[in-house]
Each structure stands twice: as structure tokens, then as C-alpha cells.
């Protein structure tokens, strides 16, 4: 059986599998002797663990996600960052890997700046962020675009195949935030716009199979026109 066949569309309340030897994963619950879905999406089995991948709805923040946000406010010990979630997200001073003058926080990041951050924890009060790590921090130049957060896996592709294709073809540096915000940085504006167009192309056709080949064709056509 191929991987595609194993995936099954499920609706809330639907029994995915019967029997005692399965474990409920994300989006599922154990009910009686079966595993029941409580989300609308695709059910997937991996080593007896059943989980449901949602395909619609708002972005659900998770620990370890790299996201792109906008500095909303500055407090005495950090920054409040809008990452497109209903919860507040906070980047404390201690998670900035360099010396910061406490009386001059806006020198590091000012209100309105865009930043790439990582979610390090989610609790009742809100989301904790960090910029310790490679590729994280304030964005100086380039363009930002927004897509539906459910389409992020298609933009990245299997093991990053799609995103490296776009990077290769356009010579741009691209960071895809899990919340659907994408940063594109290139040496000239034409390259950046081409990358943006390519991403829009993918997100409109996110349900096509064999999309990577189609994107390759698309790039060829674009080059021939030039």
C-alpha cells in the first residue's frame, strides 16, 4: 500500500480504527475500544499511533515552530510580538544572544520591525519566544508575504525539496514561518518578485500531486519568456 492510500478523510466523531492496539495521537481521542477523531482532516497511522492532520482552520502554535512576527510593543524586559495567534507572544531579554542595553531596547528591535523567532514554550499566560539559533533575529531587508498556514508543508515540500527548488531558481534566501508568513531576501527586486509569484502559484495549487515537477515547468516557462 502506498502512503497516499493510508490517509483517510475523517470528520469529528468518526471512528478511525477499532481495536485495543492503537494509540491516540494529535486530534484523536480514545473512546471505548476505538480511536475517534475530533478534528476534520486526514487521518494517518505511524507505528500504531493515529493522528489527524487538519487541513483548514487557524494556525495552532506549537513548541519548536519557527515563525515570523512583528514587534508590537516594548516592555522593560522584552518585546511583545504579534505572530498572528490569539495568544500574546513575548520575547524576553534573556533570549537575545548578545549584550543589550536595558535602557535602550528599541536599538535592538523597534516597534514595527519584523523578526524571525522560535516558539520555546506555550503556557496559560501566553507564548514564549527566543531568537537564540541560526537564522533567527531581526529582518533588515527583503519582502514578507502571507499565505494560509495550512499550506506551509506544501511550500516546504518533502524534506524541503520544494523550498530548495525555489531558492535555486531565484537565488533568494527564503524563510517560511509555520504561521504562514514568508520572508524573501534577494540581491534584486526582480528575483524577490519571482520567488513571491512562485509561492503564490504553489499555494493556489496546494492539492495537486506531483507539484514539484509542475513548479519546475513553470520556472522554465518564465525563463523562456525572458
Amino acid at each position: 500500500m502506498t502512503e497516499e492510500n493510508k490517509r483517510k478523510i475523517v470528520i469529528p466523531g468518526e471512528v478511525i480504527v477499532k481495536g485495543e492496539d492503537y494509540l491516540p495521537g494529535e486530534g484523536t481521542q480514545k473512546k471505548g475500544k476505538g480511536i475517534v477523531s475530533f478534528r476534520f482532516g486526514l487521518a494517518e497511522e505511524l507505528n500504531k499511533l493515529i493522528r489527524v492532520i487538519p487541513l483548514s482552520g487557524v494556525y495552532q502554535p506549537r513548541r519548536g515552530n519557527v515563525v515570523i512576527g512583528k514587534v508590537e510593543n516594548i516592555t522593560f524586559n522584552g518585546w511583545v510580538i504579534d505572530i498572528d495567534t490569539p495568544q500574546n507572544a513575548f520575547l524576553p531579554l534573556t533570549e537575545v544572544p548578545k549584550y543589550v542595553n536595558k535602557s535602550n531596547l528599541e536599538e535592538v528591535m523597534d516597534i514595527g520591525d519584523m523578526v524571525i523567532v522560535k516558539i520555546i514554550g506555550i503556557n496559560k499566560r501566553g507564548i514564549d519566544l527566543s531568537i537564540r539559533g541560526r537564522g533567527l533575529g531581526r529582518l533588515e531587508e527583503g519582502i514578507i508575504m502571507k499565505i494560509n498556514s495550512n499550506k506551509v508543508p506544501r511550500i516546504i515540500g518533502k524534506e524541503g525539496s520544494m523550498i530548495s527548488l525555489i531558492k535555486e531558481e531565484t537565488n533568494c534566501r527564503i524563510t517560511v514561518g509555520q504561521n504562514g508568513l514568508i520572508w524573501i531576501g534577494g540581491s534584486n527586486i526582480e528575483d524577490e518578485l519571482l520567488a513571491k509569484e512562485a509561492i503564490s502559484f504553489i499555494s493556489e495549487r496546494s492539492f495537486v500531486s506531483g507539484l514539484t515537477d509542475e513548479v519546475k515547468k513553470w520556472f522554465k516557462q518564465k525563463k523562456n519568456k525572458k
Binding site: 487557524v58 490569539p86 495537486v208
Partner: protein
């Protein structure tokens, strides 16, 4: 009373009007759906979970569901004055109570899930169509739910119980007149909402619930089909 009860539109007593359901009709919303019983058409749009505003309505312990039901002004032959009315406020609250038991929104503290229901065309049973549309719209929005809910109205015309009343039957005046009983059930047969407008004996009420259980099975299948078709179509494209 005649042996074979004749309904004005020729339906059998346990037959609903043609059911239609469609998911994903409001591109701007996080989840949306249309549901119709014959000439009664309801659309529902879901937004959220998002931060609750005004702030004083935030619940720090669990998420909130907020429903808003309204009829568009051209939905009936007599123009409906836009804006909240006694009736629409009641139905908004009823819809919220009908849906709340199946939602798992405890983890969305201080947040709200907004459900907007609009009746495009009305021919009785609008609240049932609205609840059915809202249930699939909530699923489409990715809100965790224990189950879907399906709603149907049972009527008593004179002495006869019928499923899914239309406007003519709702206004029935001969004999004992008309009684309207909207019922919302989960597929397991648990009642999340029941209303009664008129008079009925306990025995007949029990019969009415049994009728509703059978009728909601069809409605549930239509809802299920609409949700699955939505994803299947996207896979085909």
C-alpha cells in the same frame, strides 16, 4: 382523520424536504457551510478561535462560543427589518446551547469562536437549518469537536406527527392546530436542544423524539458527505 395522512406538498409523514449541504462557501472565513431543507437556506461562517473583545467578556478558564443568527431582509415575502430582534436573540442563544455540548474549546482560554448564521430564504425550520450549517462550518474551521450535531423540526398537525415542517404546516389551524418541536441530536442519539411551541402529550412527545432520531440520520449523512466531498474535490483538482 383519514387513514393515510396527506401533507400539503405530498410528502410522507416521515419524509424531509430535499436536503443540500455544501462546505467552504465563504472564502474569507476560517470555516463556512450552506445547508438547506427545500426552500429554507441557511449559511454559516465561523471565525476563530481569536481574542475575545470586549475584554470583560473573556473567560480565563475556557473558550467561549458566540453565535449570531439573523435573517436577511428579503428572506420572507414580508420584508424583515434588519438588526437584532426578540426572535433572533432567542435563536442565537438556542444555537449556542445546541452546539456547545459537542465542542472541545476548554483549551482556548480568553478566546472566542464566532459563528454567524444567515437565513437567505425562509420556509419554516430555519433554526434547524442554521444549526446544521453551523455544525459543519465549525468542523471545517478545524475546531475540536466530540461529534457533529443534526437538527430537525417535528410538527404535530392536528393529531398527526410529521417530520420537517414547512410554512403551510406551521400555520395549520384546523383541528388541534399546529405544534412545532425543533430537536437537535448527536449521531449517538443524545439530545442537545429541544423546544416545544404548542401542546403535546408525553406519549406523543416520545414518539416525536423517535421520529427525530430517524430523520437526523439522513441529515448526518448529508453533513458527512458534504465535508468529505470538500476534501476529495480539492485532492482531484
Amino acid at each position: 382523520m383519514a387513514k393515510e395522512f396527506k401533507r400539503t406538498d405530498g410528502r410522507k409523514v416521515d419524509e424531509t424536504r430535499p436536503i443540500k449541504a455544501k462546505v467552504g462557501i465563504v472564502p474569507n472565513a476560517d470555516g463556512s457551510a450552506m445547508f438547506s431543507f427545500g426552500d429554507t437556506i441557511a449559511i454559516a461562517a465561523v471565525y476563530g478561535p481569536k481574542k475575545m473583545h470586549p475584554q470583560h467578556q473573556q473567560d480565563p478558564e475556557k473558550g467561549t462560543l458566540r453565535c449570531d443568527y439573523s435573517m436577511v431582509s428579503f428572506s420572507t415575502p414580508e420584508r424583515i427589518r434588519p438588526g437584532p430582534s426578540r426572535r433572533s436573540t432567542e435563536i442565537s442563544k438556542i444555537t449556542q446551547w445546541a452546539l456547545e455540548p459537542v465542542l472541545i474549546i476548554d483549551q482556548y482560554q480568553t478566546m472566542v469562536v464566532d459563528v454567524f448564521i444567515n437565513i437567505l430564504q425562509a420556509n419554516a425550520s430555519t433554526r434547524c437549518a442554521g444549526i446544521n450549517a453551523a455544525a459543519i462550518a465549525l468542523a471545517h474551521a478545524g475546531i475540536p469537536m466530540k461529534n457533529l450535531v443534526s437538527s430537525v423540526s417535528i410538527g404535530k398537525i392536528d393529531k398527526q406527527l410529521v417530520v420537517d415542517v414547512n410554512k403551510d404546516e406551521e400555520d395549520w389551524e384546523q383541528g388541534e392546530g399546529a405544534t412545532d418541536i425543533p430537536i437537535t441530536l448527536t449521531p449517538e442519539g443524545k439530545i442537545t436542544h429541544i423546544q416545544l411551541d404548542g401542546k403535546i402529550t408525553i406519549k406523543q412527545l416520545k414518539e416525536a423524539i423517535e421520529l427525530a432520531k430517524n430523520a437526523t440520520k439522513q441529515i448526518y449523512e448529508a453533513q458527512k458527505k458534504a465535508l468529505k466531498e470538500f476534501l476529495e474535490e480539492k485532492n482531484k483538482e
